[in-house]
Every structure is written in C-alpha cells, then in structure tokens.
C-alpha cells in the first residue's frame, strides 16, 4: 500500500451523500478512493495552468496578496523601435 496520510477535512453532508452514491454505484470502493481521485483531478487541473492563470483566479477571488507598484517596471525594447499608434 502506498504511503498514506490521514487527512481530516470538513466536507458538506450533501457532498458526502453524492460521494456515497458514487461508491454505491461501484465507481469507487470507498470515500477515500473517491476523494483521492477528486484531489488528483484538482492537481491535474492546476498543473496545466500557468502562474498567470492561477494568479488571475486568486485575484478574482480576492485572495491575491497585493504589493508593489508595476509602474516601477521599465523595459528596454530589444526588437527595434516600437511605434505606439495614437489613433486607429
């Protein structure tokens, strides 16, 4: 058996009922197996996303720590002289 850790988490009773339904349908042997699969899916989802996408998710949920001023970032053009259009 793989190295396992006992994880105590609070989950809504509705979610637990749905997980139990999946188990009774035979999709999973027990709650642990179902929740492990859910965690694997969660990790796979975020392993496919970029740091920018993850930061956007945090920003939209109000959980991104705010610090610094981006206006301090000045970049040196390396590909010719940029032309910024002043109109369409």
């Amino acid at each position: 058996m793989a190295d396992t850790v006992l994880l105590q988490v609070r989950v809504s009773s509705t979610l637990v009922r749905r997980i139990d339904e999946l188990c009774s349908e035979g999709l999973y042997r027990n709650r642990s197996e179902a929740i492990s699969d859910a965690i694997r899916m969660l990790l796979a989802k975020y392993s496919r996303t970029s740091p920018e996408a993850r930061a956007t998710a945090l920003y939209l949920s109000g959980r991104l720590s705010r610090t610094g001023n981006p206006e301090e970032l000045i970049f040196t053009p390396s590909t010719g002289r940029p032309h910024i259009e002043d109109d369409e």
């Binding site: 970029s50 740091p51 920018e52 930061a55 956007t56 920003y59 939209l60 991104l64 720590s65 705010r66 610090t67 610094g68 001023n69 981006p70 206006e71 970032l73 000045i74 970049f75 040196t76 053009p77 390396s78 590909t79 010719g80 940029p82 910024i84 259009e85 002043d86 109109d87 369409e88």
Partner: protein, 147 residues
C-alpha cells in the same frame, strides 16, 4: 476612478523618451500616483502583448503578475458571458457604434463598472463612443483638479 489605457502604459513601460507625448504621459502618471487607477483586463493583456514583443516573454509575464498584485491598480473584468450568443449580443451594441473590437471590449468593461469617471488615452477615435469621458494625458495635466 480613472481608467488608464494601454497606450499610455506602453509609452511608460517602454520608456519611449523620444516620443513627443513622453513628458505629458509621465506627468499624468506622476499626478495619478497614490490613487487607485483602473486598467481593463483587455488593456492589460494588450500591454502584455506589446511588452512581450519588444522586451521578451518573461517581461510580459512579469508585468501581468505585477499589475494583478498592485495596490494602486484595480484590474477591471467584465461579467463573464454564459455563451458566445450572449457575448456577440453584448459586444455588437458597441461595434455598431463604430468601435474596433478591442475598444468594444473595453467599452463593455467601462459600462459595467459604475466607479469609472474617465478613460485616459492618447487615442481620440473612441471618444464620444465610449460610455465614459476620455482625456489625453496632456488634457489631464492641464486640468487643475481631477479624480
């Protein structure tokens, strides 16, 4: 809240000192320092594309994260459409006024953010067709008070 257009930010971040708009551009940004400014997500993505093209991918990505984390900037997102039909319906109202697709996207954001008072840009074409007043950085610096 004043929303800053990507053209103003591009001039600043690429430090285009030879551009005749440089001094007024910097003065306007200097005067706005310390107050929360808006940047639409479309404006920010436009900025990131230009910076990536001229200063490399790493710089563009760094700048994107820096704006999200900024205490002085609020990135404005429009309500997410449920479907392409809804998106077309929403954006068509602005395209029908003669706005480019990018301007129409920004107009949708400005329209759904009641706190926006002014849109700062060098571009005069969208003026009158955006849901808020537009000012150039030169006009802003000539004003005695703003905000």
């Amino acid at each position: 809240m004043i929303v800053v257009g990507s053209d103003v930010l591009i001039l600043h971040h690429l430090s285009l000192r030879a551009d005749p708009r440089w001094n007024d551009n910097e003065e306007a940004l200097r005067r706005l320092r310390g107050s929360v400014k808006g940047v639409t997500i479309y404006g920010l993505l436009d900025l990131v594309g230009v910076i990536s093209r001229h200063a490399g991918e790493k710089s563009g990505r760094e700048l994107y994260l820096s704006y999200l984390r900024s205490e002085e900037h609020r990135i404005l997102f429009p309500p997410h459409p449920d479907s392409w039909e809804e998106h077309i319906e929403n954006v068509m109202r602005y395209l029908a006024k003669g706005l480019s697709y990018k301007d129409a996207l920004e107009a949708m954001v400005l329209d759904t953010t009641p706190e926006v008072q002014l849109y700062l840009t060098w571009r005069t074409a969208p003026a009158g067709r955006l849901p808020v007043k537009t000012r150039t950085p030169s006009e802003l610096t000539q004003q005695r008070t703003f905000g």
